[in-house]
């Protein structure tokens, strides 16, 4: 199984829940967005309150949590995106 090291950025409520702005994690190259989220929840159980109200951004494109397979590469940037409140 190929694994990649990706950086994960935490924003807003997710940063408060994890106590982190960013971290590096190692994950399989082929993983679904839901599996990636579950991996993050395992590392940071307090994230579970966001589970129904969060999407990810992978290489700055939004990805909802689901079966969609991501093809991650070393150095890719993933961000946890709680509900938006700009404007």
């Amino acid at each position: 199984m190929n694994t990649e090291q990706v950086s994960v950025l935490y924003f807003a409520k997710s940063a408060e829940l994890t106590g982190l702005k960013a971290e590096n994690i190692t994950v399989p190259s082929n993983i679904s967005s839901l599996q990636l989220w579950q991996h993050l929840e395992t590392r940071h159980p307090r994230l579970s309150v966001l589970r129904d109200q969060v999407v990810l951004a992978v290489c700055q494109e939004y990805v909802p949590l689901g079966e969609q397979l991501l093809t991650l590469r070393d150095g890719d940037e993933v961000a946890v995106i709680p509900p938006l409140s700009g404007g």
Partner: protein, 157 residues
């Protein structure tokens, strides 16, 4: 960026925003209309007194999403000339502007519609977050109803 020299100006800044500055930046001789939207911070929410707002952004992605919005505007309203979108980050005191959008076009209909589209789409798609700090009680991260993954009970289609 429009083919005829129309500009997309996008700024994320902790500095105080200026409506005059935005208006001047999109004004041009060929345009009969400059439309502006200014989003300001309210001092109350559900009976609670708000003492300030704090904004946070995923800045590189916020800029790329704002550029996407500009491209969409230019596709829907090709006569639009200049677009200037400024969003403030960090602490924003009450009544100060958190966002200013200025758009120019030859005739008023296009810039008015484009400004409305711009703020509505910004609220749905740009990775910026607002926290309300109250006089008493816990601060609260707000959620735009336009955001498809916010918990509004609405079924997104």
């Amino acid at each position: 960026m429009a083919a005829d020299g129309g500009q997309d100006l996008i700024t994320l800044t902790t500095d105080k925003l200026s409506a005059d500055g935005v208006s001047e930046s999109v004004t041009c001789p060929s345009c009969g209309a400059v439309s502006l939207f200014i989003g300001t911070t309210r001092d109350h929410f559900e009976g609670k007194k708000v003492i300030r707002l704090e904004y946070e952004a995923y800045s590189p992605m916020a800029e790329s999403e704002l550029r996407k919005i500009c491209r969409e505007i230019r596709t829907k309203w090709p006569s639009v000339r200049h677009i200037n979108i400024q969003h403030r980050l960090g602490v924003v005191p009450i009544t100060e502007a958190s966002v200013i959008i200025g758009i120019s076009s030859p005739h008023r209909s296009d810039s008015l519609e484009a400004v409305k589209y711009c703020i509505n789409t910004l609220k749905a798609t740009v990775p910026i977050w607002k926290k309300e700090i109250y006089e008493s009680g816990e601060p609260c991260w707000k959620e735009n109803k336009e955001c498809l993954w916010a918990d509004t009970g609405k079924d997104p289609k």
